[in-house]
């Protein structure tokens, strides 16, 4: 099943999700479900890192799901950081007017982890 392609890994108090190249709608929806599941197990993570470096299409459904997920994570006290968006995707998303809610953006997963682990870091 497509939704098995979403794996949510916990790395030192941070949830890491790597999105596949062209996820279908069920896979995108699964992102939200799996993140919410992971947020409720054990101690609340600092936040979510969403690795989009493999993604080659970001449409309005995907963007809306990401924005909603970021909002939910925020309500539970965490931050959402998007890493590694491709130039072609960034340009298209900008021209389409897509917004990603309160998600922050960084160049790569390394920086995302650093960002979330910064001492005393608040938005």
């Amino acid at each position: 099943m497509e939704s098995d392609r979403i794996s949510v890994i916990r790395v030192k108090e941070v949830l890491l999700v790597t999105m596949p190249a062209d996820p279908d709608d069920p896979t995108v929806s699964a992102l939200q479900e799996r993140v919410l599941e992971a947020m409720s197990g054990g101690s609340t993570p600092l936040g979510l890192v969403l690795d989009l470096s493999a993604v080659d299409t970001l449409d309005s459904f995907f963007a809306r799901t990401v924005a909603e997920t970021a909002q939910m994570v925020g309500l539970m006290g965490g931050r959402t950081v998007i890493a590694g968006m491709r130039p072609s995707v960034a340009i298209t998303a900008t021209q389409l007017g897509l917004r990603l809610g309160n998600a922050e953006t960084v160049l790569d997963v390394d920086r995302a982890l650093d960002l979330l682990h910064e001492p005393g870091a608040t938005r």
Binding site: I82, G84, P87, I91, T94, E104, T105, V106, L107, R111
Partner: protein
């Protein structure tokens, strides 16, 4: 002087109009395409210019429906709509579309069309006069491509030092230039792993609504990658324009001069260390 020569000129004109050879000679000589159709679209006249362009002789096409063989399928809708308009008395009308020649080539024609009514005022014939603009359109396209190339060459994306890329923008921004700029800038950011991009607009003469929109678009796209844009070269006049336009530049660093922008970037990179980009506040 006046009335005598005017009268003889009028007389000459009446004689010309009655001359049976006038119209055929005109149609033969003119370089423009002249085609006449009846209300069903069947060809009634197809002048030598049409013959030369299409490779069809008039006697081969008389009576054939024009759109059954001269038009490419994907251009039929606008042409049929035009013919409907002409038949309903809405003329003159202009249209640019392709014709297909006998050997399958496409030529782009700029048409000026009208209707010829019968004695009762009903449109009996449809007249189309066209000019082949294929070469002109191709030249225009080539010029645009050339201009784009030139703009690209004169808008380098420079890696100033580790972590900072700089784009000294010169001239005005339009949609296409912005697209290509975003492409190159964003790819440079990814390739050099630079968290900071300085967009210097010292060389941009005017910042109007459109330019401001393109700048904001570029800044947003850079943001999505996780880098920050510094807008430098914001002169007092430009600052005024941006405020008046209500452009929201919160989260964007702006500086009056490039030097100030470079100092700021240096400060941020120096304090924060190499692996943390100032990408907070998405």
């Amino acid at each position: 002087m006046g009335s005598r020569s005017t009268k003889s000129a009028r007389d000459a004109r009446v004689r010309l109009d009655a001359h049976t050879a006038f119209l055929p000679t005109l149609l033969d000589t003119v370089d423009a395409l002249v085609a006449v159709l009846d209300r069903e679209g069947r060809i009634v006249r197809f002048n030598p210019a049409c013959e030369r362009l299409t490779g069809w002789r008039e006697d081969e096409v008389l009576g054939r429906v024009l759109w059954e063989f001269l038009l490419p399928p994907d251009e039929m809708a606008p042409v049929l709509a035009l013919i409907r308009d002409l038949s309903a008395g809405r003329f003159p009308a202009r249209l640019e579309n392709d014709w297909i020649t006998r050997d399958g080539q496409r030529r782009r024609i700029a048409f000026n069309c009208s209707g010829i009514p019968d004695d009762h005022g009903e449109v009996q014939f449809l007249l189309g006069c066209g000019i082949d603009v294929t070469e002109r359109r191709r030249s225009e396209a080539a010029l645009v491509a050339q201009r784009d190339e030139l703009l690209e060459v004169s808008t380098p994306v420079v890696r100033v030092w580790e972590g900072v890329v700089l784009v000294p923008l010169i001239g005005t921004l339009d949609g296409r230039r912005t697209e290509r700029l975003m492409d190159r800038l964003l790819n440079a950011i990814v390739e050099t792993r630079s968290p900071i991009a300085i967009l210097d607009i010292t060389g941009v003469p005017v910042v109007d609504t459109e330019t401001a929109r393109y700048l904001v678009e570029t800044i947003r796209a850079v943001r999505l990658l996780g880098a920050r844009t510094v807008l430098s070269g914001v002169r007092p006049a430009i600052a005024q324009t941006l405020v008046h336009l209500g452009i929201d530049l919160s989260g964007v660093e702006t500086r009056a001069s490039l030097v100030d922008a470079l100092r700021w970037a240096q400060g941020v990179l120096g304090n924060a260390g190499p692996s943390t980009g100032p990408g907070r506040g998405g």
